[in-house]
Symmetry: C2
Subunit: 122 residues, 2 copies
């Protein structure tokens, strides 16, 4: 898969809320930086972080609003949707993914307003 | 200029902190959505918003970290830097620009963590 296909497959996979499957998209030394929070490195730490917001969700979806590629970088504009404790959360997000030649995500940096998330969580 | 050149020229122009010049990059019906804040429409409203953060800055810079294009959309990952009241502000941002065939920016949506900005402002 090319970088765009890898990132589209990853975003589609979010709906299944299977953290082990999601972690499998990443290289062993991948860095996930959810920008307002400190970056985490490696599949185990990425899995722990993903579990924190995907674990409590009864539904999850990354809708891609816009996507553009430059070399091994894939820039996305998204609407991330979750249902957590019966509450519908909709978060506008942009994120950059870097993908290795073998099709593993080696970097993921997401940009969003944390207060927009916490306000919806109540 | 193609969409990429337009957006690079706009980002470069920020350093001059000339709001009238910056407003000239936009179409008359352009929408600027600084995501945590309500969107504004039209050159006058965009100018007012830009003045709010460029006006008090003694230095300003949009450093492009990554940029990718898809059709008339230009997705950017940036480090926006300001010096305001002697304080150095560094804000990680991603933004999507939509550019008309005649080279005007018709949409600009920026994604960032507002608290990261206000904390640095003190």
């Amino acid at each position: 898969m090319d970088p765009e296909a890898t990132v589209r497959a990853f975003c589609n996979a979010v709906e299944a809320r299977d953290v082990e499957q999601l972690v499998g998209f990443f290289s062993s030394d991948a860095v996930y930086h959810n920008i307002p929070i400190a970056p985490v490195k490696g599949r185990e730490a990425i899995g722990t972080t993903l579990k924190a917001f995907i674990g409590p969700a009864s539904e999850a979806e990354f809708e891609i609003v816009a996507l553009a590629c430059s070399g091994n970088s894939v820039l996305t504009e998204r609407l991330d949707r979750f249902v957590i404790g019966g509450k519908k959360i909709e978060l506008p997000v942009m994120g950059t993914f870097e993908v290795t030649p073998s099709g593993e995500i080696s970097a993921w940096r997401d940009y969003f307003d944390m207060a927009s998330f916490t306000k919806q969580m109540g």
